[in-house]
Symmetry: C2
Subunit: 325 residues, 2 copies
């Protein structure tokens, strides 16, 4: 019996310029580039143990046994590259408030990519890790890096990966997550983006305008311009959600309470407070702001939301090996 193991930690990221739609379902190649901020507060710790005595892959999430189907498909990629056939035991802990509806697949597959590749004896570059993580979940591509990262869409498996834009964020920026619904969403990201690509007449204009947004957002980050970055992020998010409304049949991730949070953020801006929202494939609203304003923003949100629905997060680090079980 041979045993090889490794543990890794990766943080979630929230896209400010969104990924919505694939040009290759198998390789997970996106239609357009995207840009995200990795957050410190939400992360996944994953340990992979390749064990020659196993008859199949095993997967535990937060100490609960889960189906290993998706994990196995991902581990197959690692096994191919390391030229071995050993099965693995995968144990993950999601340090995300319980089922908070915050994309945990980004941190999950970024952590799995590093832990599995290390345990298999591969010593991948961050670029190669980013490409590997991409095969598990598109947004995981960006969680390899801390701070601001850009996912280059590419045209093949080889050139679709993330690059760091500003790993150490040295300006006053944070996000407040407004947790509105902890339930499983009715339409998965995968289904949603597929329907949009197939049926929305707005889709080609989305790809084009998002490419333009991305260039502007990179300049805003270089210039530490929170107003410009916020305006771009909010508008880009709404253009993504507009795609869902324009699909056939239409769908939406907005819930009434999402609109309540969005309107509160807009109202704060009329009072001169710099804050902008973004939403992903779910009802939760994330508010981009400066830390110096977070107290007043939280107080305003607390006129409607309970304190435990509001979670403050700061720029977080990239994926790293850790010493764990």
């Amino acid at each position: 019996m041979t045993i090889h193991q490794a543990s890794a930690r990766a943080h979630t990221n929230i896209a400010l310029i969104k990924y919505w739609g694939k040009k290759d379902q198998q390789l997970i190649l996106p239609m357009n580039g995207s840009l995200s901020l990795t957050l410190d507060h939400f992360y996944t710790d994953t340990t992979v143990v390749f064990d020659s005595s196993l008859k199949a892959d095993q997967f535990w999430l937060d100490d609960q046994r889960q189906s290993a189907t998706k994990i196995s498909r991902f581990l197959d990629l690692v096994r191919q590259r390391s030229e071995q056939k050993t099965f693995a035991k995968v144990k993950s802990y999601n340090h995300v408030p319980n089922a908070a509806g915050l994309a945990s697949s980004a941190s999950a597959f970024a952590a799995l990519a590093l832990a599995a590749s290390q345990a298999a004896g591969l010593n991948l570059s961050r670029q190669a890790l980013s490409r590997l993580a991409r095969r598990g979940s598109g947004s995981a591509t960006r969680s390899i890096y801390g701070g601001f990262a850009e996912w280059l869409p590419g045209t093949t498996d080889k050139d679709s990966y993330a690059i760091p834009l500003q790993e150490k964020v040295d300006w006053d920026i944070e996000m407040i997550a407004v947790i509105i619904n902890r339930q499983q969403k009715k339409i998965s990201s995968r289904q949603g983006m597929e329907r949009v690509v197939e049926t929305s007449p707005y889709y080609p204009a989305w790809v084009k305008s998002t490419q333009a947004d991305l260039l502007k957002a990179k300049k805003a980050i270089q210039a530490h311009d929170l107003i410009l970055l916020g305006e771009l992020a909010e508008s880009n998010a709404l253009r993504m959600h507009a795609l869902n409304l324009s699909a056939r049949p239409p769908f939406s991730y907005f819930e009434p309470q999402s609109l309540v949070a969005m309107r509160l953020v807009e109202k704060l801006r009329t009072r001169g407070i710099c804050c902008y929202y973004t939403l992903d494939a779910g009802p939760n609203v994330k508010v981009l702001c400066a830390h110096k304003d977070s107290q007043i923003i939280k107080e305003t949100l607390q006129s409607v939301f309970a304190p435990d629905q509001l979670i403050e997060a700061f720029p977080g680090p990239g994926v790293q090996l850790i010493n764990e079980k």
Copy 2:
């Protein structure tokens, strides 16, 4: 002193295939064709008195004196055509639940077009009336006709008018208006559509896809196919609201309670009840359904909304002269 007067009644209409964006601000020529259902429950009665002793136009709405600026501009068109310079007294009564946020400009300008042209001694055809009403408010173009009407977008003042599609609606169809907010909206239709035309990257695709929707909706009306008509209306409305989200800066007429009503309608459909929603430039939701199902739909909506927030309306007639003060 010479006096010439006439009174007319016109009903509001709700667009099932929407008008959103002008290609000529002055003439109010729309970018795309649209299709509506005129409703019996909501109407405007207007009396126009041309009186040679008047020094300026006067306007009363529901017995309250109002600014006559917009009315005067409209009356100028009538004066030009009838070659006279007499001012007029205009009295309107809006038979719409008080400030219900249901487009009353459609019924207002359709009634004014008929009353003013008759009082001025013009005997306009319905096509000419429709062209005239258009100059007051785009949606008034369609309120000349009862039942289902189509507004042909045209390219000049001469060929942009509505035509009747099915004036006497002989199948089981109605609308339930869900009154969510009676306040003045922050962004007028005019401002909203201007911003969309100027800034939304999705706009050209809207025009094209709406033209296709219009053809399908006409076939659905011919076939008395409520499911197809409802699906088209709901999807077309959401594509219009998607334009607003995609404008820069983005905006929305949705309020949290609008989403509540929309989700209730979607839920009713999963129970096999045929109903579809549409929204105009405001938060109120209008539910298209068959009268045979209206009781169960109202009961479901009443789980959240008060009975006086729900108003049932049936297909209504076109503009007509009436005998009134």
